[in-house]
Every structure is written in structure tokens, then in C-alpha cells.
């Protein structure tokens, strides 16, 4: 009830809210054959979120506070940007993770490049955005097109599968499934993945 009955005659229609944001982490690990599910909170502009597919852990570090990056990680996410840890990525013309291996020898992988990402929004009205130079993978970062010329912004996911070659030559297949939580909170990503993918007998070309 809001307070007394005089201020609420409709309360019986409603449910109590549950936890606003789902717990982040590797909710359902993949064994390579079956899909796993990861939930990641990328709402902060100043923070990279690091995924370690070997240990199935998630960590994060604040760029503005110069926090130390974790020692082991494979892929990192910042808002709708992404980067690899000395790896490379390719976008598949498919949205089904089950067929990801079929494309392994057909696609070319693109490594990270140095780029600027927005890390400080506090002076945006003056046209001053705080940028930080950091490696970004231009292929995975295309998973989401955000049109900020209108309010609210338009979010258009690519709905494609991305193959990511990790630094140890293992391969993970990713599909960004949702960009907001069940409660509608934007920046709560749900990723479906398979790891490790079976790699072909012939070695993949060396990473650029």
C-alpha cells in the first residue's frame, strides 16, 4: 500500500518488484557442444568488464580510477564496445551458434585496433566528453548500433554470431542475445556462447 486507503484503491492489481537487475556472471557454462549463458552489467561508462572463458569468471576495472586490469581475461566489454586479449574476431552471416564451426575456415579474423571510448559524460552539455584511448575490436563492437540523435536512443542489435580467437588459439562463438534486463534496464547484456569450439584439423592462419 502507498499509505492510507484514501491514497490507493488500485493496489491489489500489482506485484511486488523482484531484484531489479539479474545477477551477473556465467549463469550457465558451455561445454563446447551446448550453449552457455553469460549476464554482464555494462552500464558504467568508465568501467571495462572482463570475461575469462577458462575460469568462467567476470571481473571489472575502472579506467578513470586507473584500477588494475585482471591478470587473466579473454574478452572485455565496455557499454557496447568490445575488445579481445591479443585475439581477433569475425562476424558470421548467421545467428545460430550451432553452425559456428562451419565458418571457421571461411572467415578472416580482425584484431583489435586503438580507438577512443567515452569514459566521462559529466560535461557532455558543453560538448566535452571524456575519452580514453584503448584497444577495441571493430568487428565485435558492431554487434549493437546505437542511434543517439533521438531520445530515447535507438538500439539495433546485429543478431549475428561472432567468432573470437583467443590468445591461446582456442575459439569462442558469441551471440549477444539481449541488451537489457527482464525489468527493462538497459546495459544488462545477456550473451549466449559456445566454448571451446572444435577447431579444424588444419591449423587456422596465424593471428595478424
Amino acid at each position: 500500500m502507498l499509505c492510507g486507503g484514501c491514497e490507493d484503491v488500485l493496489s491489489d492489481f500489482y506485484d511486488e518488484p523482484r531484484q531489479v537487475v539479474a545477477e551477473a556472471g556465467f549463469l550457465s557454462p558451455s561445454d563446447g557442444e551446448h550453449e552457455g549463458i553469460i549476464v554482464v552489467d555494462v552500464r558504467s561508462y568508465s568501467r571495462w568488464v572482463y570475461l575469462d572463458f577458462h575460469s568462467l569468471t567476470i571481473d571489472s576495472a575502472d579506467m578513470l580510477l586507473a584500477e588494475e586490469t585482471p591478470s587473466h581475461w579473454d574478452i572485455a566489454l565496455h557499454r557496447y564496445d568490445a575488445c579481445t586479449h591479443h585475439g581477433a574476431a569475425a562476424e558470421l552471416p548467421a545467428s545460430d551458434l550451432a553452425t559456428a564451426e562451419n565458418f571457421l575456415s571461411l572467415v578472416s579474423f580482425t584484431p583489435d585496433v586503438d580507438s577512443l571510448v567515452v569514459t566521462d559524460m559529466s560535461q557532455m552539455v558543453d560538448g566535452i566528453l571524456g575519452y580514453t584511448s584503448t584497444p577495441v575490436n571493430p568487428v565485435i563492437s558492431c554487434w549493437m548500433d546505437v542511434d543517439l540523435s533521438i531520445m530515447p536512443p535507438h538500439y539495433t542489435p546485429s543478431e549475428r554470431v561472432y567468432l573470437v580467437r583467443l590468445s591461446d588459439e582456442s575459439v569462442v562463438a558469441l551471440r549477444f542475445d539481449k541488451y537489457k534486463s527482464a525489468e527493462g534496464v538497459k546495459g544488462i547484456l545477456t550473451l549466449h556462447y559456445r566454448y571451446p569450439l572444435s577447431t579444424p584439423s588444419a591449423p587456422l592462419p596465424p593471428l595478424p
Binding site: L2, V9, S122, L148, S149, P152, G184
Partner: protein, 631 residues
């Protein structure tokens, strides 16, 4: 016509006009029968004697629109509907947004808002008797929000011992509207029960834009009214209404809107010339989000208003009416956007007086004064209004109005903290001043037979308009008062009807807005807008047929907009193109009971190249067919 009449005569006239409205035959409009209106002075006056625009019952039937929003757009030049921020409907009239337009239903405010606009879906077109629009500031009568105009939707009232009405309407994109009403009037008791269901499917738009689909939605309106006339000098009435709307705004989330309103009123006639009325109104408007995955319906917003009002009016022969009133409004707001806790309350206490004096048969002066006190901002406001009219000859009336308007800061504007799409936060400001304005209007009216020509010039100077500005200290947007804004313009209206059954109505509005503000965005009011209606009706052996063509045209507008919401320092000038929409409606009334209606909206199949928020939200040409039974 003598302007001041004894109250009983007015009531009788009002009743006769109401009966006339039930007959949408072309003959009724040939004879000039006035409607009694209450919005201009809070007391019933003939429509010819006050500067009020009326959308009559006959206009409503001829327009044959799906909802009230479309009806108002169809009838009022100068009115524009935008779909802003996730397709929330916002009206703009004469340069004023929804917060400065006061919508009333039978004289009562509506609780709840989204982007400063009430939920227009609560207004059921099937229950409408007529609509009264009082342009210009009228805070001296209605208090806060009556800055740009007051729009009063007056419900239909039963005039026969028994009436049953039911109708269905189906159209393109799954549009449906079904309604049923039953009205009983026996001895001293009358009752009206109304039920309406509407729905529309999601519409994929044929061009790119700020939005690419129109959300599907459905709504339910149910209402009950009871009136009791226990004594010759006393009327009492009670009402209750429930509203529900669900909007399919997302694949995982639906927006839900609910409202419950109720009211009691008593009107007593003391002697032959004095009336006293007491009114209590309750209105609760809620918003909630339904998460489809777990079927949880969680409330995010609730606005509850209690209003008590006393109104006293006495007619002093030969030509003077004095009105006095007092109001108490308790406003409660709960929202997840509010800080530091999620609920706030405000009391508004008001008192007003009005003197309506006719020193000669051709001159009428109306003066009003009101005081409002708001507890949340601990501020008070005195607002005056003076109207003078002079009748010249038998056909010409000149009117002049000087009035003030004001809008108190809302609880939302004072206390909210709203995360804007993860980009920045909009902060409330509890030091806001009330927005206030000075308004002057000059009008001339020529009336001859069935022809009426009116023209008016209006000017507003608005001080302390409440808007959002970037706050460097907070690092986000914050509500603040603007520098003055000047709004000037003109309204022209011509209506005529010939005995052959042909009718013509033309409306034109020019609005010019000059902002002296430091806000980066320029006004987006379209300067020119016009409406045109040509209708023809004829009685046949088998019934009455009415055809109407409606045109609505708006000029282009250039305004500054942000290039990106990631950079609020850079704007670009964008031209929003002009457009014109044509509607065709055809109604055939079979004998006494059944009416078949057909409508073609957007007859010329206009599709915007890009759906800006102020582009018409039309997917192109649409059709609808309806059948109504009235017994």
C-alpha cells in the same frame, strides 16, 4: 440577445440544447440553436455570448474519429500531436505544451501525466456530449495549468426515459472499438452506464524515423453515473469510472496504465436566483510495467488527487451575476523517479470570485480574481481576468480579454531524479518559481443567419517557463525557470450552412513564438495550420445520409535540434516538412435506430519521408467501418 438571464431560464435552455444534440439530422443545424457552455465563466451561458470554441455533438458524429485525440486534431487548427520519448502523446496548442493546457472532464481535472500530458486515452469519444475550448489564460477561474487554453469535455446526459446504445467499429491494422451504453431516467433518478473497448495492432511504418513501428495497444473504459433529484431545489449526483490500457512497447515489457475516479456533487437552488454547489472528486492514475517473462506487474507511478470545491452563484436583477468559490486539492505522487524517497504530497488551497455585469444591453464585463497557495513550494499566486464585450448592431460582437495564467511547479519537477537512457540524469529542483503569463486577446465576431465569422489576435508573455537545463555542478539536466517567452498569433474561423444541406467550416491559426531563453533548442511550433470541412447531408426515405471531407494542413517548421544526445553543445537546424491530411467520412442513419459509418483516413496516402516526433503518425491510407444502434 440579452446576455444575462435568470439561472432557471438558462437551465431550461441547456436542457433543450442537450435534447437537440441527440438528433444528428441536418435540419437541426439549420436552425440556430445555441449550446449552453460553462467553461468561460463556470456558470451556464449561451455559447454566442462567450469566447468559447465548441465541438458540438453533431461535429463529433460527423468527424467519426477513433478517439478524442483524433477528434481534437480534426477540429482545431493550431493543435499538434507529437509522439515523443518512446511514443508518448504530447499536445501542443498556440505554442503551449501539455503542461500549460488544462484538460477537464465535466469540469474536473485529471490525475496523472506523462511528459506533462494527461493520458488522452481516458477520454472516451462515445460518451462525449460536446467539447468546450477556452483559448488563452484562465487561471483566474481554474488555477494552475490554465495558461494556454482550457479544454472541457462535457459528457452526454440522458434525456429520455430509456436509451440503449451499442456500436462496433473495425478498421485497418486491427483497429477495433466496441461500446455499449444504457441510460435510464425514471421519476427523480437517472443512470448512465458505459463500457468501451478499443484495440490496435502494432503497425510497421513504411519509412525510417525516430520510431519505426507504432505500438499495439488496447484499452477499457467503464463508467457509471447516477443523478437524483430528491427535491425541487436539489440535485445530487455520483459517478465512478475505471480505465485500463496496455501498450505493447517492447518484446519483453508492456506498459500498463490504470485509473479509478469517482465523485459526488450536490447542486442546490436557493430562491430563484442563487445556486450553491458542492463537489468532491477522487482520481487515482497508476502506471506499471508488466514483464512478460515472469508475468510480474510492478507499479512505477501513482498520482492520487482529492478535490473538494464549493461554488456559489447569485444573479442580481437586472444584469449582474456574482460567483465565488473555494477549492482544496490534495495531490499525492509516488514514482520510482522521485528522490530522496519515492513519494511526495502537496496541498493546494484556492479561492476565487467573479462578477459578470451587463451595464447596458450591448455591453458585458466579466472580472475574476483567484488566489492559489501551494504547500510544496510554499508559494501563492493571485491571478486576475477581465473580459469586455460590445455588441455592434445585430451581427457584430467585439471582445477583449486581459488575463493571467500560471502553472505551479509539479511534484515531479521539484523532486524527481530520472535516469535518461543511461546518458545523464534529469534532476528535480525544489526552488522553482511558478511559471506565469500575461495574456491579451482581441476578437471580433460576425454572425448572420447560419454564418459565423470570428477572428482574434492573441499575445502571451510567459515568465519563468519551466524547462530543463544542464547543471554543471550536478553533471546532469535540472529543471529551472527560463527567460521570458513571447507568443503571438491569430485565429480565424468561418462556418456556414446552406438550406440545401451543404456546410462549410474553415479554421486557420498563425502562431509565432519568440524565446529570449538561453535554452539551446528553438521552438518547434508550426507557424501556420488550417482545417477545412465540407459536409453535405440529405434526408431520404430510407434515412439520412451525411458526407464530409476534412482537411488538416500544417506548415513546415525550422528548429534547432541536438545532433546527438552525447553532445548537448552542438545543435543543427532541421526543417520539418509541411503536410496535409484528407479524411472522408460517410454516415447513413437508417430510420431511427441504426447508423452505418465509413471513414477513409489519409485519403491521399501521405507517408512522411522520415517519421520525426512531430510528423503525422500515419502508415498511409486507412479504412474503417462502423455500425451503431441507438434505441
Amino acid at each position: 440577445m440579452t446576455i444575462a438571464k435568470p439561472f432557471l431560464t438558462l437551465c431550461f435552455f441547456f436542457h433543450a440544447a442537450a435534447i437537440a444534440q441527440q438528433l444528428p439530422s441536418p435540419d437541426t443545424t439549420i436552425h440556430h440553436l445555441q449550446t449552453l457552455v460553462v467553461t468561460a465563466t463556470r456558470t451556464p451561458k449561451p455559447s454566442d455570448d462567450v469566447p468559447v470554441t465548441i465541438i458540438s455533438h453533431s461535429d463529433i458524429q460527423t468527424a467519426n474519429t477513433y478517439n478524442v485525440q483524433e477528434l481534437l486534431l480534426n477540429e482545431l487548427p493550431g493543435l499538434e500531436l507529437t509522439l515523443s520519448m518512446n511514443q508518448q502523446e504530447s499536445f501542443r496548442l498556440h505554442g503551449f505544451g501539455g503542461a500549460s493546457l488544462l484538460f477537464l472532464v465535466d469540469g474536473e481535472r485529471l490525475a496523472g501525466e506523462t511528459l506533462d500530458n494527461i493520458d488522452y486515452h481516458r477520454l472516451s469519444v462515445n460518451t462525449l456530449g460536446h467539447v468546450e475550448i477556452l483559448n488563452g489564460a484562465a487561471s483566474a477561474l481554474y488555477g494552475s495549468n490554465a495558461v494556454g487554453a482550457v479544454v472541457n469535455l462535457v459528457s452526454d446526459t440522458p434525456t429520455t426515459p430509456f436509451s440503449l446504445s451499442a456500436g462496433t467499429r473495425c478498421g485497418s491494422y486491427g483497429e477495433q472499438r466496441h461500446h455499449a451504453s444504457i441510460a435510464l431516467a425514471r421519476n427523480r433518478l437517472s443512470s448512465t452506464t458505459h463500457l468501451q473497448y478499443t484495440s490496435r495492432h502494432q503497425v510497421d511504418l513504411p519509412s525510417p524515423g525516430d520510431y519505426q513501428t507504432l505500438f499495439g495497444q488496447h484499452s477499457l473504459n467503464a463508467s457509471q453515473r447516477l443523478s437524483y433529484h430528491p427535491l425541487q431545489w436539489l440535485d445530487v449526483s455520483a459517478r465512478a469510472a475505471y480505465f485500463f490500457r496496455e501498450r505493447e512497447s517492447d518484446e519483453t515489457l508492456h506498459d500498463r496504465y490504470r485509473d479509478f475516479s469517482a465523485g459526488l456533487s450536490a447542486n442546490a437552488r436557493i430562491g430563484t436566483n442563487t445556486t450553491l454547489s458542492a463537489t468532491y472528486a477522487f482520481d487515482q492514475y497508476d502506471k506499471s510495467r508488466l514483464t512478460l517473462g515472469d508475468n510480474l506487474d510492478v507499479r512505477t507511478y501513482s498520482n492520487v488527487q482529492h478535490t473538494a470545491r464549493l461554488l456559489f452563484s447569485t444573479f442580481s436583477p437586472p444584469h449582474s451575476t456574482f460567483t465565488a468559490g473555494a477549492e482544496l486539492l490534495r495531490d499525492f505522487l509516488m514514482s520510482y523517479q522521485l528522490a530522496p524517497d519515492s513519494r511526495h504530497r502537496q496541498y493546494t488551497a484556492s479561492a476565487f470570485v467573479q462578477w459578470d455585469w451587463q451595464p447596458t444591453e450591448r455591453v458585458n464585463l466579466v472580472g475574476a480574481l483567484r488566489y492559489d497557495h501551494f504547500t510544496a513550494s510554499a508559494t501563492g499566486r493571485i491571478t486576475p481576468r477581465l473580459t469586455a464585450s460590445l455588441q455592434i448592431g445585430d451581427n457584430v460582437t467585439l471582445r477583449a480579454t486581459l488575463s493571467d495564467g500560471f502553472r505551479a511547479p509539479t511534484l515531479k519537477e521539484m523532486f524527481m531524479n530520472f535516469d535518461m537512457a543511461g546518458l545523464f540524469t534529469v534532476y528535480g529542483n525544489d526552488t522553482l518559481h511558478p511559471e506565469h503569463s500575461h495574456n491579451a486577446t482581441l476578437a471580433a465576431e460576425y454572425r448572420h443567419g447560419n454564418t459565423r465569422l470570428t477572428s482574434s489576435l492573441f499575445y502571451h508573455r510567459v515568465y519563468d517557463r519551466i524547462s530543463t537545463f544542464w547543471d554543471h555542478t550536478l553533471g546532469g539536466m535540472r529543471y529551472a525557470n527560463e527567460q521570458p517567452v513571447d507568443i503571438a498569433g491569430t485565429d480565424l474561423a468561418l462556418s456556414t450552412r446552406w438550406t440545401c444541406g451543404l456546410g462549410l467550416r474553415i479554421g486557420y491559426t498563425f502562431t509565432h513564438e519568440t524565446s529570449h531563453t538561453s535554452a539551446p533548442l528553438s521552438p518547434s511550433t508550426r507557424p501556420h495550420s488550417a482545417t477545412l470541412r465540407v459536409d453535405y447531408s440529405r434526408k431520404w426515405k430510407g434515412g439520412t445520409t451525411a458526407l464530409a471531407i476534412h482537411l488538416r494542413a500544417l506548415s513546415a517548421v525550422k528548429c534547432d535540434e541536438y545532433v546527438s544526445y552525447l553532445d548537448l553543445s552542438t545543435t543543427t537546424t532541421r526543417t520539418h516538412p509541411s503536410y496535409a491530411l484528407l479524411r472522408l467520412t460517410a454516415l447513413h442513419k437508417f430510420n431511427r435506430f441504426a447508423t452505418l459509418s465509413l471513414s477513409v483516413d489519409n485519403l491521399l496516402d501521405y507517408v512522411p519521408d522520415y517519421y520525426y516526433n512531430n510528423a503525422p503518425a500515419t502508415p498511409g491510407r486507412t479504412f474503417s467501418i462502423g455500425l451503431d444502434i441507438d434505441m
